[in-house]
């Protein structure tokens, strides 16, 4: 097994790297960020048009639940970062455990989201009930689609970490980059939907 020192030495031997993971993944990150930014701009524009109605609808969201969602996802970002660090040090079992822990936190986030959706729907706040909830359900649902893709990405990561022939540090970092992107989008969605009043 490669030691931490060896890995660091190998890293130095490769020379400085510009971005972690495949640069191609960063194209996805930038492009998807642009798409999400356009959604946020549309949301903020219509929010300024009907500020009172948006504020009233927003008051039905539970801020503490959003905070828990955020803590869960930020913790998953930390575990995936730990996964990268462990893989870099050649500690692949620990890295695989971190990847699975990340997926577990993702599942917890998804479960919390479903609980929140069910609660809101039972209270009469649906996709069509008000303009604010159109955006709420759209943004949280499209984020959850990204999260589901993230489970596939973490599955690929765990499978590569299991097989010594397929372990590539760049691939580990690419998967982690995707997961961080999902977290990043959530933090923005949380700020816009739950916090901004």
């Amino acid at each position: 097994m490669t030691t931490t020192e060896d890995a660091i030495a190998t890293g130095r031997a490769r020379g400085p790297r510009r971005v972690p993971g495949q640069p191609d993944m960063w194209v996805f990150v930038l492009f998807e960020s642009l798409v999400f930014t356009s959604y946020f701009c549309v949301y903020l524009f219509f929010r300024t048009q009907h500020e009172r109605a948006f504020l009233q609808a927003q008051s039905h969201l539970l801020l503490w639940l959003g905070v828990i969602d955020t803590i869960v996802l930020l913790t998953s970002s930390w575990t995936v970062a730990t996964c990268v660090r462990h893989a870099r040090a050649g500690r692949y079992d620990a890295a695989k455990r971190d990847a699975l822990l990340t997926a577990g936190l993702g599942v917890l986030f998804l479960a919390l989201k479903i609980v929140e959706w069910v609660r809101l729907i039972h209270a009469g706040h649906t996709f069509t009930s008000s303009e604010f909830f159109q955006y709420y359900f759209f943004l949280t649902a499209i984020h959850c689609v990204h999260l589901l893709i993230g489970f596939v990405v973490l599955g690929v990561l765990a499978s590569q970490l299991t097989d010594p022939k397929r372990r590539v540090q760049e691939s580990v970092e690419t998967c982690a980059t995707y997961w961080h992107t999902v977290d990043f989008f959530w933090v923005l969605i949380f700020a816009l939907l739950y916090v901004v009043r």
């Binding site: 993944m25 492009f31 798409v35 356009s38 959604y39 549309v42 759209f138 499209i142």
Partner: protein, 258 residues
């Protein structure tokens, strides 16, 4: 001599398909945006009388434009064929290429042809009950915008093939761009529910942003397919990199001798 060289060029069929793809997308843009003015889409909240007026205002354009599509729309097959060819050139199972080909061929019926038929019917039967005209209007736009989800799996198949490929046929960033495009196919789904607003079939999120993404995606794959043809060596291994002359023009790859 140049003419003879062209005749012997084994890439001429590929170039023919590529230029046909260019011709198709130009035809598509001109017909939908200029001649028939069916894009951007009509207002989803129009009542029956407004729909009758909408058809009357575009009567000639609808007939001329969609006549062109019925005659030349088959050119769309060339872009699907070239994309299928790109997947065949990759180091992945042929099942990817066949799945893509079948999916996109089938998807073109609700996603492209239904609107042409529906709008032509509306234009050619102006004497029909306005309620029926409104039904045809809804059917046309909902089949065009609302069924974009049928292209979702096709994009994901192309993405997976690109990411698994070891021949470097298309860049990995384009694989990820396929994912961005596939996600916009999900975003269009609420257009079935809403009659107005950002999620309606002409809405900012459901239409304008999606069209922006689709335009970039289409431009990117047409450019990359051109590079693929230039780099094609008709071998089965990795494709050579795109070599450039000092003038900045790409150099055609050497053809592999079997």
């Amino acid at each position: 001599v140049k003419r003879l060289a062209w005749r012997d060029n084994p890439k001429r069929e590929l170039w023919l398909a590529w230029y046909a793809t260019i011709a198709f997308y130009n035809l598509y843009t001109i017909v939908f945006f200029i001649i028939t003015r069916t894009q951007p889409p009509g207002k989803p909240w129009y009542d029956p009388n407004q729909v009758v007026g909408w058809f009357a205002g575009r009567h000639d354009g609808l007939l001329v434009g969609f006549a062109l599509i019925f005659t030349l729309g088959g050119l769309s097959a060339t872009s699907i064929a070239l994309i299928t060819y790109s997947i065949r050139r990759m180091s992945v199972s042929r099942a990817f290429a066949y799945s893509y080909l079948i999916l996109y061929s089938v998807s073109a019926v609700p996603g492209f042809l239904f609107i042409c038929v529906a709008m032509t019917v509306g234009a050619m039967r102006p004497d029909r009950n306005p309620a029926v005209q409104q039904w045809i209007y809804d059917f046309g736009f909902l089949s065009f915008s609302g069924t974009m989800g049928v292209f979702l799996i096709g994009s994901l198949i192309w993405m997976t093939a690109i990411l698994l490929d070891k021949n470097g046929v298309l860049p990995k960033w384009f694989g990820y761009l396929n994912l961005c495009n596939a996600l916009t196919e999900v975003v269009i789904a609420p257009s079935w529910i809403f009659h107005r607003g950002v999620f309606a079939w002409n809405g900012v999120i459901a239409w304008w942003i999606d069209v922006g993404v689709f335009g970039l995606y289409t431009g990117a794959f047409i450019y990359l397919l051109r590079n693929l043809i230039i780099r094609e060596d008709f071998g089965s291994g990795p494709l050579p990199e795109l070599a450039m002359k000092r003038t900045g023009t790409p150099v055609q790859a050497e053809i592999a001798v079997p």
